[in-house]
């Protein structure tokens, strides 16, 4: 039977693309989350944000 190296290359190439793609996608998710953590605004925990009662009220 002929060796069909093309089919072997297609199978391993496909696996490389799928697993490599998933690896990269995980890395991208981690970077996005890290960026989100870094850019988490200090105003979120700042007392200024959650004090509407202290704002001057309009007549």
């Amino acid at each position: 039977m002929p060796d069909h190296w093309g089919f072997v290359a297609a199978a391993y190439g496909l696996a490389l693309v799928v697993f490599g793609g998933y690896w990269r996608w995980l890395g991208q998710k981690e970077r996005e989350l890290a960026a989100l953590k870094r850019s988490d605004p200090p105003s979120r925990t700042s007392p200024l944000r959650s004090e509407p009662a202290s704002r001057p009220t309009r007549p």
């Binding site: 069909h4 199978a11 496909l14 995980l26 998710k29 989350l33």
Partner: protein, 215 residues
């Protein structure tokens, strides 16, 4: 720790490729196209393992409602689906030169396709339900039901007449494989199992971080 696991997985995959292409001999009947087996068979074993982890974690979530169990179940089922997809695709690529067809609706291929579609539905369900608690609960039930089909896939080659060959290794009695082919297969299984474990660990951490960011 997770990073170290990743490096182990990379080294093991390189060793697996060396075993599959360098050490294992050319198969007498099929020729070199049989080397697809070193990817195709371990991929489904890793998928089975991941689905079993997902099954146990789903039961744990339903019992105790811990988010960690839900994240582990989600990650394991996602990684299992990835490996099962690779198994189905490489099986089709292997089937064309050996059977003369990419796909046939025999019992093994049909049952594995059903499981694959069920886990795709699991992942879609995760996206579709917005409430995290309901999403986790529904997904846990579907993950358990889908994993219960794995024995059906494995034993389909015994219960029905199929084009697919019966298992060479996961069966009662000793293996009928020559030693060098068996060793290459087991090394590749270890390599893909490490890769799968690495993906599950990393994805679980990402899911936990995402949940924390949303909260």
């Amino acid at each position: 720790m997770v990073r170290v696991l990743g490096w182990f997985a990379v080294v093991a995959v390189v060793a697996g490729l060396a075993m599959g292409f360098g050490v294992a001999p050319r198969e007498a009947t099929q020729g070199n196209v049989q080397r697809i087996m070193y990817l195709h068979v371990p991929a489904v074993w890793v998928a089975y393992l991941a689905f079993i982890v997902g099954f146990v974690a789903s039961i744990a979530y339903l019992a105790r409602r811990r988010n960690g169990a839900d994240h582990l179940a989600h990650a394991a089922c996602e990684v299992g689906t990835l490996f099962l997809g690779v198994n189905i695709a490489t099986g089709a690529i292997w089937g064309k030169p050996t059977w003369g067809t990419w796909w046939t609706w025999d019992a093994r291929l049909t049952s594995v396709a059903v499981v694959f579609v069920m886990f795709l539905a699991y992942l879609l369900l995760r996206q579709a339900v917005e409430d995290p608690e309901r999403s986790a609960r529904y997904a846990a039930v579907l993950g358990i039901v889908a994993a219960l089909n794995i024995p059906l896939v494995h034993f389909s080659v015994y219960w029905w007449r199929t084009l697919h060959q019966p298992p060479s290794l996961l069966k009662p009695g000793s293996s009928s494989m020559p030693g060098s082919i068996l060793t290459a297969l087991l090394v590749n299984f270890a390599a893909l199992a490490l890769l799968g474990a690495y993906f599950v660990a990393r994805r679980t951490r990402v899911l936990a971080d995402e949940a924390e960011a949303i909260a």
